[in-house]
Amino acid sequence: MPKITIDGEELEVEAGMTVLQACEQAGKEVPRFCYHDRLSIAGNCRMCLVQMERSPKPVASCAMPVGDGMVVYTDTPEVKKMRQGVMEFLLINHPLDCPICDQGGECDLQDQAMAYGMDHGRYKENKRAVEDKHMGPLIKTIMTRCIHCTRCVRFSTEVAGVTDMGLIGRGENAEIVTYLDQAVSSELSANVIDLCPVGALTSKPYAFMARPWELKKTESVDVSDAQGCAVRVDSRGPEVMRVLPRLNEDVNEEWISDKARYWVDGLKRQRLDRPYVRGKNGKLAPATWNEAFAAIAKATKGVSGSEMAAIAGDMADCESMLALKDLMTALGSANIDCRQDGSKVDPKVRASYTFNSTIAGIEDADALLIVGANPRWEAAVLNARIRKRHLMGKFPIAAIGPAIDLSYPVDWLGEGGDVLAEIANGNHPFAEVLKTAEKPMIIVGSGAAARPDGASVLGLARQIAEASGAVSGDWNGFNVLQRAASRVGGLDLGFAPGEGGLDTAGILDGVTSGAIKVLYLLGADEIASKDLDKPFVIYQGHHGDAGAHVADVILPGAAYTEKDATYVNLEGRVQRGQLAVFPPGEAREDWKIVRALSDVLGQTLPYNTLAEVRQGLVKANPVFQGIDDIQAAEWGEFGATGGVSGAFTYPIANFYMTDPISRASATMAECTDEILGGGEGKTGTDG
């Protein structure tokens, strides 16, 4: 390992590191604009200059690999002077519009100008002005502020895998553009806003909304999909202003999807802020909590447990699911299910419903088979991880399903289940690829597992995993790509049909036949049944969406930003979200609603505080003990034997609208219109 001396301090660093990284390791701060750990090295901003012995010129530390015996200085007056020179050049064409710039207060250029800027400018000529570019509904551009670090170009090309952005022209005429002024067509596009070190790319929906120092920052987790990306919720008073990613190397690195970032304006629309009860005229009327509970008590009187059922939706938290499960058990009902999509994963075998390889584990895999999943839409950040693995090389990727652009090359084996059976029988060439791989991976889509023959899909996938040695030692290459934040948590705590209980399909059959008389929907809005007007429906949730429309009683709950709650991500990682703002109006945290209702129904649940509910979670399943940890799931028998016929389809038709929050979001509607061409005649994409 090379030895390098930085400011008189000798240290050993890994070969292949850059001088900048070595300086960081030595605890020296080196200013930079273009350099970013997760992007390729450009070396074009020159801010990271350092002095090096035996080098006549200053060295751009981000682009200089360490060599044995290097002697580097980062804090001499000469270094300061060089950086001041670079800063002066950068500021020549940078406008002095900080007071009206949205980046103000969180701007790298502003911060570093405090350290390396001069107290006055010497440049008397006209500054250049650059026309603003159109980059879609999320990214606002003020291109005069751009310092051409090309972080955005490198991010979109390397991480997001779309070739929309580029740097055209040269010298003073250089400009960042999207090809033909199109919107950036990536689900991760808004990350360039975080990457931009100046105010050239800022957030369009958040434009002129708040200053960073006015905001309360709450660390939480995202529930827009099942990855559980680490986020920071910035709020002011009762309002969530924006969501930013937080660093979590094991889950999202430092990216989040555009939906996770921009669906928050949906939290202000269509909210259920008071209880409602359907009156004699068939219309929902506002009510008090007591009236709502009384209506439920009346409706459930004399109804036996087997005639009641509960379904938990995609964003339900673990605490409320546990409370509802305990309540249903107390009422004598085993008809509970958290798989509202009808998934056939086996609640008894944890390995059958989690992403066993883990997200970080994707980087260790050496072959991948995707079955009926569109990871780009079902788990956008995880898809970037697959792309990252692809860029490392020697990673054959094949997929079964309709061919789509996943941002990396995929060998499309076919659309139908027959291909899956062929691989399982070993009659397909890709079976050999998986067999020869040391750490093969199989990703089964949640949509594939929810097909009527989903159990057979899982069975065949298990067969492939076992035959190719994907489950051996500490490697488990069998993965189910869940897309609902509540799913793994719900299955972990046993929100699944008990002894003799009905699953979602059974419950819906019961609804149609009239066997189910009372149906409790815990934020379940995506129920595929036309007969929900037959039973007495209790809807507990935060948005007036599909579930609330069919409800007889509405109990207003809290959205994910409004409660302290536990979620389990698709890997089986237990994570905690935190309350950033209080629920609107009379809405309450969800577990408390169920607890209060249990009192009225005479089945008082044995917990009064959040801590007691969480003890209940640990009792239900010890995995809830380790926060931010994954407990490896034990391998077992699951799935069914049988043929799989018919082509696979993907469950998400519109990435930007998948749940009650995003359906209420105006920003997501704009994205649908412009990026997916959903608006009729509004874009040129339909010819």
């Binding site: 070739t163 580029g166 553009v177 090809y179 033909l180």
Partner: protein, 206 residues
């Protein structure tokens, strides 16, 4: 980019052969290296400028993103992204040429073609552009028309060249002051025995 664009572009079979010859020069997987000669071919075929359709055709041929080809085409000033006249007149106005009278050359251009810097004449015959150093400082001032250099200019010679082009004639390429390539203006001072007719008349302190 130019607003009015042809709807399609395809290389002629002759240019396609040339393009494939360029592509074949690079090892497998490095075909993108051929982007510059291909852009040049497209520009020559399309009357001196590169349309958007050509950028996309080249991107397809080299298996790269259109934006990457566009970046290259905008970076180099010798690629034109909007139409130019039949004769593309590039006048060097850098220091050596300017000291030797490039202003008069520009005036001559204006006089004959009616074009100021960056303009195209109404008949579409000329586009005049001030450019940076073209590397012929020894014979300053100079201008490049199409692929040819015209050097040692003054008002009269520049006017004559442009008038000849306007009339469809072919003016003499190279130095207009009578010297051979970039030999000393007063004649050669060495190897005089080999080229006696090009020797300096006296002393040769030029």
């Amino acid at each position: 980019m130019q607003t009015e664009q042809p709807s399609s572009f395809s290389f002629t079979s002759e240019n396609l052969d040339k393009a494939n010859w360029h592509i074949a020069k690079y090892p497998e997987g490095r075909q993108q290296s051929a982007v510059m000669p291909l852009l040049d071919l497209a520009q020559r075929q399309n009357g001196g400028w590169i349309p958007q359709a050509a950028i996309e055709v080249i991107a397809d041929m080299l298996d790269m993103a259109s934006i990457r080809v566009y970046e290259v085409a905008t970076f180099y000033t010798m690629y034109n992204l909007s139409p130019v006249g039949e004769h593309f007149v590039q006048v060097c106005t850098n220091l050596p040429c300017w000291l030797r009278g490039s202003d008069q050359v520009m005036e001559a251009c204006k006089k004959v073609t009616g074009c100021s810097n960056g303009e195209t004449s109404e008949d579409g015959k000329f586009t005049v552009l001030e450019v940076e150093c073209l590397g012929a400082c020894v014979n300053a001032p100079m201008m490049q028309i199409g692929d040819d250099y015209y050097e040692d200019l003054d008002s009269a010679s520049a006017e004559e060249i442009l008038k000849a082009l306007k009339a469809g004639e072919t003016p003499k390429v190279g130095s207009q002051a009578g010297r051979h390539t970039c030999e000393p203006a007063g004649g050669i001072t060495s190897l005089t025995d080999r080229y006696p007719d090009r020797a300096a008349k006296s002393g040769g302190d030029d």
